[in-house]
Amino acid sequence: MRRFLQPLIAGLPAVLAAIVFAGLIAFVRPGFALDARTVEQLGFGESDDKVAAVAALVAAGDARALAVLEALAEGDLYTSGRQVLIIKGDAAHDAASDAAVTPVPEERDEVTVNNRLRREVAAAIAALSLASPDREARLAAAKALAGGAEPAMLPLIKKAAGKEADPLIKPMLEIIQATLELQEGSKETRLAAIRTLGASNNPNTKQLLLALLENKDGSAQDDDILIEAQRSLRAVEGRLAWGERIGQVFSGASLGSILLLAALGLAITYGLMGVINMAHGELIMIGAYATYVMQNLFRTYAPDWFNAYLIVAVPVAFAASAVVGMLLERSVIRFLYGRPLETLLATWGISLLLMQLVRNVFGAQNVQVENPAWMSGGVALLSNVVLPYNRIVIIGFALLVLLSVWLALTRTRLGLFVRGVTQNRAMASCMGVHTARVDTWCFGLGSGIAGLAGCALSQIGNVGPDLGQSYIVDSFMVVVLGGVGQLAGTVYAALGLGVVNKFLEAWSGAVLAKIMVLVFIIVFIQKRPQGLFALKGRFADG
């Protein structure tokens, strides 16, 4: 109680003086002035005096106090003789009255700031900034205060919380206010504070309430407060648990959509054509680098259109990977049809070549691919769940790609040929289908989709020469699990693996989750060697 009141009492004369003084000075010059004694204390006092002076300035709570404190924080506050001055460049002003002082005195000493004082000053600046008309400044201030608000700031925060209209900042301030009141207020205030905390979605309040229940802050508790605290804690925990669950489902869906994109191309090249392409990961990487190149081109030649680069990058990434894929098919893979193990080794060699090539061209370091402005940020569903826009866009993108692949396979002439060649190559050839050409186009389509996956991946992760390597094992797992020759299997397997992986990750850590998923796949294949959706009948033997 004393700790709480002391600065208030100390500040009271300063406030009164400031009001009177401001009234007086208002006739002389526009602007405000501060209590000269407080400022003097700040300039010449011992460390404790300075802290008290800062508290007094906060209590005064006007714009002039903010200027003085900022000068102090930046080392622009000097003493010269009995004067306390703010000296910026060649201009000197009196700290208390803002009157210009000319000439700038030669003999001056910087007001020293030790670490303790620096902390106090930073918090004080934040508290004073709460009154700023700029929303960003208020938000930053509220964030800073959430870490360390001092009891002296309570009146300021209360006032700011009352005035605040922003839906994001207001609850933050209320929490800060409740936190302060919890430490210092009367029983009623504390009860009210606990109820406010119970309505918050902030994960930090859980810690606060837990500390209160375990009586860590040392203050005497009575039963009402404990009961109320428990009730609030349960409410907060319940909401947080929901948030976590939603977050896991979302990140599972996000991972699933990425796996889906990476595996869709494989579902075509491996699932339909039976070509095992170990360079698939590198085709993804090429898509990502194509996006990177487009980004740089836009940045250099059309900075005004920068936000649109991704829309151009999508077809470019598709084309780049598709062309590389078709070249590979014509030059290497074509000679290895029907020899899957040889294909595996040869395509591995190709992947080594492509990786080293990219290393030589773009360097071994990861490159930076920036999100366009419309993809950064996110929807804050609850305080502990933020759904980033880029992930949402990618989920939508994956579904779009899936739809187009399905349309391409079922509604176009190429799709018809591809299905025909898959089912019975000899018969299709007899019917006049140019099977070799269909193979090339089909492989190009699968590779192009890998490029699209790369374009999507560049928006959420690092783009480097090893990008493909980290996805190749996962995407093959998806295809193995989903079964060969079926798109539906790939979709279910990708989403299922994504969600299961994320839930296990939350439970046991990323590495063990991966291992468990792998064991699960091995066990699953025991039961259904052909995957989730096996082809039935005479095609099953392939």
Partner: protein, 389 residues
Amino acid sequence: MLTRRIFQLYGRCGWLAIALALGVLLIAFPVLNLAVPAGSALHLSDYWVSLAGKILCYAIVALAMDLIWGYTGILSLGHGLFFALGGYAMGMYLMRMIGREGQYKSDLPDFMVFLDWKDFPWYWSFTDNFWYCALLVVLVPGVLAFVFGYFAFRSRIKGVYFSIITQALTFAFMLLFFRNDTGFGGNNGFTDFKRILDFRIATPETRMGLFIITGFTLIAALLLARFIVLSKFGRVLTAIRDAESRVMFSGYDPLWYKLSVWTLSAVLCGIAGALYVPQIGIINPGEMSPANSIEIAIWVAVGGRGTLIGPILGAFLVNGAKSWFTVAFPEYWLYFLGLIFIGVTLFLPQGVAGIAAQVRAKLALRRAMAAEAGGTAATPPRPLPENAA
């Protein structure tokens, strides 16, 4: 009876070659390395001994790979795992033998002190006994391969499916061993060994001893492999490679044939790993990376699948090239390796060991065609059978 069969494994030339190899191993290397003074032109530096020792270990792995791939038609992309597990089993013993000479002067290995562990985890018990660790070298890869193989072969996972699953297996183990909490030194693995069986590990004499043991192991493995492929068991393996369904319909159960050769292959890899670690002085989870395992396949492919001398040749060629390239043109090694992968699969399906046969077949074909064009009816020679599925 058995001795007779062993003598029949190779003809006179074969045994002569093995005797020559033994001579190089037992006389040439020790004399040139230890007896010839360091300044002499004939002196063989320690670098070459350790390089040759390393490649001998790889040759054992290639031989093991050839048994399962070249002869049984099962391409494993996880043999690096068995190699690393053997290495880790030996590494545990070597770590215990550091004793209190580590940085922290503790009985525990440095990485455990660093993790603030007070005691060895249970799976480290008895690892200060060399013979127990030698047993682990065989048992750990063997049991893992047996269990994994049993489930995989029982549900008739084969071909590319099997390759991918083995790749995922070694990938998962790599992630597991990268964790510090797994208790195998995490990222850094085991290193800084001091002694093995009371010999200082860094002396040239110990190094030479390990080198000779590795050489003997390779020759023993070669003879064992030769024994297997010439036996009836080996014939069934080849039959499984060429037509598994037909083997099944003839009344054989491929499961046990595949499983035993798979387990044997894994054990050989484990032994090679155990010989590798004291010579190279480090083992870390990087050995389990999928890229390492797939490189083993290329040694075999370069040398020639389905021959026994081929994989040994391949291991020497590829690794020799690697150590030359990584010194001379480090930038281009991956290009070269990639081109080997593509070139061998496209143009040399039978590897280096098969070049002669390939050329002969081509010439015979050309002669036959010329003869046919000349009007004489001659049956063209049958093309060589496909070596592997």
